[in-house]
């Protein structure tokens, strides 16, 4: 279980996050949604251990987080900057495995499996710049999965993608998270995406970023892009949270 206890972050005298607290049981999918500039990305960096909060702490299974760790993989929003342009797709995916000290030939086997899992088998030898945005984001997800993370942190991973690609990737991430029983914290500014993917949705309010509302999504899995989004419960959640996201 990952828990945020009273997280506060200030940059200089400007408070960015205040008293953010939540718990994510192992294997759960938490979506954090909020308007731009509400501190979502800062919160994710705190969970990753890249930023030390000014107050409060993050614990994973009771242990306080003191810095970044391989057990907490990050998928960044700006995939063009987060992939190594001089490495092929296979090379980028191998990076996480190299970090874990997995040697050849085991490494190549695992890279092959990860590529197959993310539908990248046919472009193992391509370079990131030769791929579409959606495919590049798949590479990042495959690399993160290679770390065999306990917690997968995703920072608006589909924000820059077109609607069709985004829906396809939503379903894949939901499937993989369910298969591997990985705990996921997923940041988005898209309320429907948050409800569609999450077991739990937290809405952040701005200035400073704080928890405005928290809901548990009682829609069974697997969910479907068509039926789930037309489900009465889905619409009810959307109604309830929509007003909170207006400025």
């Amino acid at each position: 279980m990952i828990a945020a206890r009273n997280i506060g972050v200030s940059f200089g005298s400007r408070p960015v996050l205040a008293e953010v607290a939540f718990e994510v049981p192992a294997g759960q999918f938490l979506c954090i949604v909020g308007p731009s500039g509400c501190g979502k990305t800062t919160l994710l960096r705190v969970l990753a251990g890249l930023i030390t909060p000014s107050t409060g702490k993050v614990t994973v299974d009771g242990q306080a987080v003191r810095g970044p760790a391989r057990s907490r993989a990050i998928v960044f929003q700006d995939y063009t900057k987060a992939l190594l342009p001089w490495r092929t797709v296979a090379g980028n995916v191998a990076l996480g495995l190299e970090a874990c000290g997995i040697a050849e030939p085991e490494r190549s086997n695992r890279v092959e499996r990860l590529l197959a899992k993310m539908g990248l088998g046919h472009c193992a030898g391509h370079y990131p710049a030769q791929l579409s945005g959606g495919m590049q984001q798949r590479v990042q997800i495959a690399r993160a999965l290679g770390q065999d993370p306990q917690l997968l942190l995703m920072d608006e991973p589909f924000g820059a993608l077109d609607a069709i690609t985004r829906q396809g990737l939503q379903d894949e991430v939901a499937r993989i998270a369910a298969e591997q029983k990985t705990t996921v914290v997923f940041i988005t500014h898209d309320l429907e995406e948050a409800i569609y993917l999450g077991d739990q949705v937290i809405v952040l309010a701005s200035n400073p970023g704080r928890v405005a509302e928290r809901i548990t999504v009682e829609i069974p899995r697997p969910r479907s892009q068509l039926e789930t989004r037309e489900d009465q419960r889905f619409l009810a959640y959307r109604h309830r949270l929509f007003g909170l996201l207006k400025h």
Partner: protein, 233 residues
């Protein structure tokens, strides 16, 4: 082809001028004598041997400068705190002309390869160091975060992320350093180190063999040009 017109005309005038006694014979050999001296120096191996001696010192200095410059540059580029501590000392050393270190290098190493390479290394260090610091600072911050979250050690971060990401700009620094290292090596030889092309040129000049001196000069120009061409690949 048009570019060859002027050199050819000048060569013909030069040859004619010295045959007619218009040009001073001590400082201007005839082109035909220069060609003869060149062929002879090539044939007896002295030119190639001298070239190798100069190369050896230039390359050794360049390698030392490259390794030190890249390593130190990466550390300074990655750690602003170290940069603030070490930076001022570096800025104090940098303005010293490398050639002014020749007497000190002679005192420490004596005549020979090591002394020459040391002076070359000092001169070639700066472009590598400064370009590496700038290149490492320019590495995409997202990649450094990625590296941290993968818990890479310092050397892994260097080899897997930072140096490949900064390679293009570091290569520019190395190319500048290469040109400098040849210049400095020849300078050290001309000033006092009794080896290599620079020393042979001084020898030829003092023996009033201006034909040989010109041959060596033109050869040095060609070598420098060729080296630059190779480095640009």
């Amino acid at each position: 082809m048009r570019g060859l017109v002027i050199p050819s005309v000048l060569l013909i005038l030069w040859e004619a001028g010295s045959r007619l006694g218009v040009l001073p014979p001590d400082s201007t050999s005839r082109p035909s004598d220069i060609v003869r001296a060149f062929v002879q120096a090539m044939a007896d191996g002295s030119l190639l041997r001298d070239t190798w001696l100069t190369f050896e010192a230039a390359l050794l200095g360049l390698v030392i400068a490259g390794v030190l410059g890249i390593l130190l540059g990466a550390i300074l580029g990655l750690s602003p705190r170290t940069e603030r501590t070490v930076g001022p000392s570096i800025e104090a050393l940098r303005p010293i002309p490398a050639v002014a270190l020749i007497p000190l290098a002679l005192l420490v190493f004596g005549f020979g390869l090591r002394m020459e390479a040391a002076v070359v290394a000092f001169a070639a260090l700066w472009p590598v160091l400064l370009m590496t610091v700038a290149a490492v600072r320019g590495v995409e911050p997202r990649l450094l975060e990625l590296s941290r979250s993968l818990e890479f050690s310092f050397s892994q971060q260097l080899m897997k992320i930072v140096l490949p990401a900064a390679f293009g700009r570091i290569a520019v620094g190395l190319r500048l350093a290469l040109a400098i290292s040849l210049v400095v090596a020849v300078t050290v030889e001309i000033v006092l180190n009794p080896r290599g092309l620079g020393h042979s040129m001084i020898g030829a000049q003092q023996a009033l063999r201006s034909d040989l001196m010109y041959a060596q000069l033109l050869w040095l120009g060609f070598v420098g040009w060729a080296l630059n061409k190779v480095a640009q690949r």
